[in-house]
């Protein structure tokens, strides 16, 4: 090991940096990335992350299929995406390099684990020659480091086996990156100690490796530059780091508190939604009841049962599970019970690309049930926004006595960002008033009598004098008795539709996120494309283009002023990670020839492809 000495170091200040930690599934890249991000967040940078891992639990080690990546963009300006192209590629083996080199900017850094480029690894990655030595990487700054070996040296004498020692090499890399970007180790050290509470020897080994990596950066002369990324100018407030599914879980707990209703989640595990179930099952001290059902049908039905019983009921799933829930969602529409249905969208159709992202369940959310059964839809636009979306879904569900579908997707569900979290007192209350008990002499209870907003009363069992029956057959207006009368059916169909339409009165008007309220081009997005569109439009506006950005949270009903807002622009461009689902709704509703921009590659939009499309759209002559 080279001696530690003070050497002249160049310090470069950066506005933003994108790092991709890539390695084999077993290399612990997700943990490394998370730790780097959390420390970076605490330092006050804005950031955005994107984990991208294979569908297999342990894809074959060393192969391209087994590569697991964690991308983080952080900066001193506001960051809305994990970055298009990367500045630093950490490649723990040959496959990780090969799979990701195309994303690396020219002239930028590769930190390669030499031990991951031995013959076996090269073969597994289908490399004929070793890229570290065959001259193919001359366009980049390559730091080829024997990370495995160095880690082993650092941990010599700890008494741990080679297997355990090798597991720490990700900490060595992390330490090195912390040195390179001048970040303190203490947060990670604390986390490691907590994680390995029961195995202190493992904890200490990991910490040693971390420190060794840091020292290595300090000591070796191969690094001549260190980088500084200043604090971001974020809105004032207290921040934390949060992942999308976690925010969703918290949103439900918050809604439970604010409504005064105990929370019930019926769910069946499915990627990428399972973490919502996992997170909520931890919080039994909030009185949260999680029920892992035998399937998605049972999960939805159990939520119906719990809602009928007066709980704040929710169910969480992804596409294939949504298909299965549809019949029961139709029942909830007919029963007019409040249920929050969370669909963490993933690549379809069928099993599709389970670990990749897509926005292709919007039309199913709108129309996925037989008969006329309208359901309100809300979409989250970032990891932290999952909290707001699901909280709002719960509020509307309870206020309007209706199931509400809340759409997130794999990208934001697994992604993370700093979150200026609210305090309890900042969150709106929506305490529920159940239907009151009645005396034998009171007029008969009318379970389907409606309030002004179109909602019926929530009449829960255990309430004296409210005995009544509900069901999926058409109900007589007000009494709720079975009715086969045609005109009554039309009336009820209209009342159910109107109730959903009336939600437009209870939600904010649509605003322009960035830009002017009139102009040449409106880019209209929804859901997880927020960050990319925001960044692209911001950049182009800086460059002087006449383009504005509006982003929909409410997909059904639309905000009341949406048409007006769209008509104020010459053109509207709708980028979506599907084949044009919001486009269909907008075209149908407002009869405007929306320009579509669609991508279904399991990945978010890059900012640059959006910019290109926006410019092309602006330049295109009306046909």
């Amino acid at each position: 090991m080279s001696e530690v000495k003070n050497r002249p170091l160049h310090v470069e200040t950066k506005q933003d940096v994108t790092i991709l930690f890539a390695g084999d599934s077993g290399d612990g890249m997700q943990l490394t990335g998370t730790q780097f991000s959390e420390t970076t967040a605490i330092l006050g940078n804005d950031l955005n992350t994107f984990p991208n891992y294979p569908a297999e639990i342990r894809a074959p080690a060393g192969t391209l299929a087994g590569v697991s990546g964690f991308q983080v963009q952080f900066g001193s300006k506001e960051i809305f995406t994990p970055g298009d192209k990367i500045d630093v590629l950490v490649a723990m083996n040959a496959a990780a390099l090969k799979a990701n080199l195309k994303f690396l900017k020219e002239g930028k850094i590769i930190i390669a684990n030499v031990d991951g480029f031995d013959e076996k690894n090269l073969q597994l990655a289908n490399c004929k020659t070793n890229p570290l030595t065959d001259g193919s990487l001359t366009k980049y700054h390559v730091y080829a480091i024997e990370i495995g070996k160095l880690t082993r040296m650092a941990l010599e004498g700890t008494g741990l086996g080679t297997k355990e020692i090798d597991r720490s090499k990700n900490m060595f890399v992390l330490g090195l990156l912390f040195w390179l970007y001048n970040r303190p180790l203490d947060y990670t050290i604390k986390s490691i100690r907590e994680k390995f509470k029961k195995k202190p020897e493992i904890a200490e080994a990991n910490i040693k490796a971390l420190q060794a990596g840091y020292s290595y950066g300090d000591a070796t002369e191969i690094f001549t530059t260190r980088y500084e990324v200043r604090k971001a100018q974020l809105p004032a407030g207290t921040y934390r780091h949060i992942m999308g599914n976690q925010a969703t879980a918290y949103g439900l707990i918050a809604a439970s508190k604010k409504s005064g209703l105990p929370l019930f989640l019926g769910s069946y595990p499915i990627t990428p939604a399972s973490d919502i179930l996992h997170e909520l099952s931890k919080h039994k001290n909030f009185g949260v009841k999680t029920f892992q059902a035998e399937d998605e049908i049972a999960a939805m039905c159990a939520a119906i049962g719990a809602a009928y019983g007066g709980h704040l009921a929710a169910t969480s799933t992804s596409g294939p599970g949504m298909d299965l829930k549809e019949e029961a969602i139709g029942l909830a529409v007919s029963l007019e019970l409040p249920i929050v249905i969370i669909d963490v969208q993933r690549g379809g159709p069928s099993t599709g690309l389970p670990t990749k992202t897509e926005q292709s369940d919007l039309l199913m959310a709108m129309f996925g049930r037989h008969g006329e059964s309208p359901v309100p839809i809300i979409a989250a636009n970032s990891p932290a926004d999952c909290f707001n979306a699901v909280f709002e879904a719960a509020r509307l569900a309870v206020e309007f006595m209706t199931p509400v579908i809340c759409l997130t997707d794999g990208y934001i569900a697994n992604g993370a960002e700093p979150w200026r979290f609210p305090t309890t007192s900042e969150l709106p209350d929506f305490k529920v008033k159940f239907a009151a008990p009645r005396n034998p002499n009171d007029p008969p209870f009318l379970p389907y009598k409606r309030k002004e907003n179109g909602a019926r009363e929530w009449a829960i069992p255990g309430t004296k004098g409210l005995e009544h029956r509900v069901g999926g057959l058409e109900k007589q207006h007000e009494t709720g008795n079975i009715s086969y009368d045609g005109e009554n059916h039309e009336l009820m169909t209209k009342l159910r539709a109107e109730k959903v339409e009336k939600i437009a009165n209870a939600i904010p008007l649509q605003t322009i996120d960035n830009g002017t309220t009139k102009g040449k081009l409106l880019v209209l997005g929804w859901g997880s494309t927020y960050g990319s569109i925001k960044t692209a439009v911001r950049d182009l506006r800086d460059e002087g283009y006449d383009v504005s950005h509006a982003h929909l949270t409410y997909l059904n009903p639309f905000p009341k002023n949406l048409g007006e807002l769209i008509y104020n622009f010459d053109k509207v461009l709708i980028p979506e990670l599907n084949m044009g689902q919001l486009s269909r709704l907008i075209r149908e509703k407002f009869l405007v020839p929306a320009v579509q921009f669609n991508k279904v590659q399991g990945m978010p939009f890059t900012v640059s492809e959006l910019k290109e499309k926006i410019i092309a759209t602006l330049n295109q002559k009306e046909k």
Binding site: K289, E294, G305, A306, R469
Partner: protein
């Protein structure tokens, strides 16, 4: 009322004395004249006042089918849901509200065909609910297709050449699924029916009660061998805990275990004594299993009478109790603080 009383324990002060009539809803009953469902409805309405549960704490949950109309006729809370899903809905309801008295009602198609999986998982989870399976061996509401309990060869609208399905044995299924209370009764023996309803209600855990129910329109007389006045005594075996298995018009036949094999013995013969007979033990899972397979056709060679009564009962923890326990333990250690949760472990402040 603005909050949920989770502490309700099913016992209320000053209960008004209720009568069967108090459980009759305003809805006109719309089963075919002569349908066995009427009798079951009547007996349920007769039994409920005796159970001491306030009317507003009772919920009937059903799926779709003739039998599933049941909740509409009960002056209690009720959900007439979708086909096959009553058990799943009841599960959510009971987990949310252990204080309620939850009854699941459905047909052989509803609970065992489309709803079989939810039944399986309800039985193993053992929530404290009561399941009334109206077995008429036919799809009534959809006008006469075979059901999973229809006998092989049965000619119906969807099996003009006779079914090639081998039927489910509902009680054997329930036992295999880990059910903790398994019983059988029939629409026409109202006394036995009432008794079984009470036993099912008294059991803590999922009570699975199969009720032979006659569908006069599409499968009339399916159970005539067991419910018919004249033949009943010879074909039915009424189980009583601790009593020997005796049947026959003159109580002249008994059942003995020959190794693991049950055989019918003639009690009028000189060297046959009641003391050698199989003594019914509700808690013996193996005996219960053998009883579920007393399934010969009357008149067949090794004929066994059809058992009615409680085949099996077992004390086992209920899902909802264990869950509530966990919540109580967790809450005792400190109720959740939303601000602390949202804040998390690490925060930073931007001025």
């Amino acid at each position: 009322m603005s909050a949920l009383d989770l502490q309700g324990n099913g016992k209320h002060m000053d209960l008004p004395v209720l009568t069967p009539k108090d459980f009759v809803s305003e809805q006109e009953v719309r089963w075919c004249p002569g349908c066995g469902d009427y009798s079951i409805l009547k007996q349920v309405q007769a039994v409920l006042p005796e159970l001491g549960v306030p009317r507003e704490n009772i919920v009937f949950v059903s799926g779709i089918g003739c039998s599933s109309r049941f909740p509409y006729y009960m002056e209690t809370f009720g959900i007439h849901s979708i086909h096959g899903r009553a058990a799943a809905i009841a599960t959510g309801l009971k987990v949310a509200r252990p204080d309620l008295d939850v009854w699941i009602v459905g047909g052989d198609g509803d609970l065992l065909s489309i709803g079989g999986n939810h039944m399986l998982h309800l039985l193993r989870r053992n929530l404290n609910v009561n399941v009334l399976l109206f077995n008429n061996e036919i799809y009534g509401l959809t006008k006469g297709q075979y059901s999973p309990t229809s006998p092989t060869g049965f000619v119906t609208k969807s099996s003009p050449y006779g079914t090639v399905d081998y039927p489910i044995n509902p009680l054997a299924f329930a036992l295999g699924a880990g059910g903790t209370f398994i019983a059988r009764t029939m629409d026409r023996d109202v006394k036995h029916l009432r008794e079984m309803l009470k036993r099912a209600h008294a059991h803590k855990g999922t009570s699975f009660l199969e009720i032979y129910q006659n569908c006069v329109i599409f499968n009339d007389g399916a159970f005539e061998d067991f419910t018919g006045k004249d033949v009943k005594a010879e074909n039915d075996l009424f189980l009583e805990h601790g009593k020997p298995l005796v049947f026959g018009k003159n109580n002249d036949k008994g059942i003995k275990l020959f190794g693991l094999k049950p055989i019918v013995v003639d009690l009028t013969l000189p060297n046959v004594s009641k003391d050698d007979l199989w003594i019914h033990d509700e808690h013996d899972r193996t005996k219960a299993d053998i009883l579920t397979r007393f399934f010969d056709e009357p008149g067949s060679e090794h004929y066994m009478p059809r058992p009615f009564g409680v085949f099996y009962s077992e004390a086992r923890f209920c899902y909802e109790d264990a869950l509530i326990d966990q919540i109580q333990h967790a809450t005792e250690k400190g109720e959740g603080d939303l601000d602390a949760l949202l804040r998390g472990k690490e925060t930073w402040t931007v001025a």
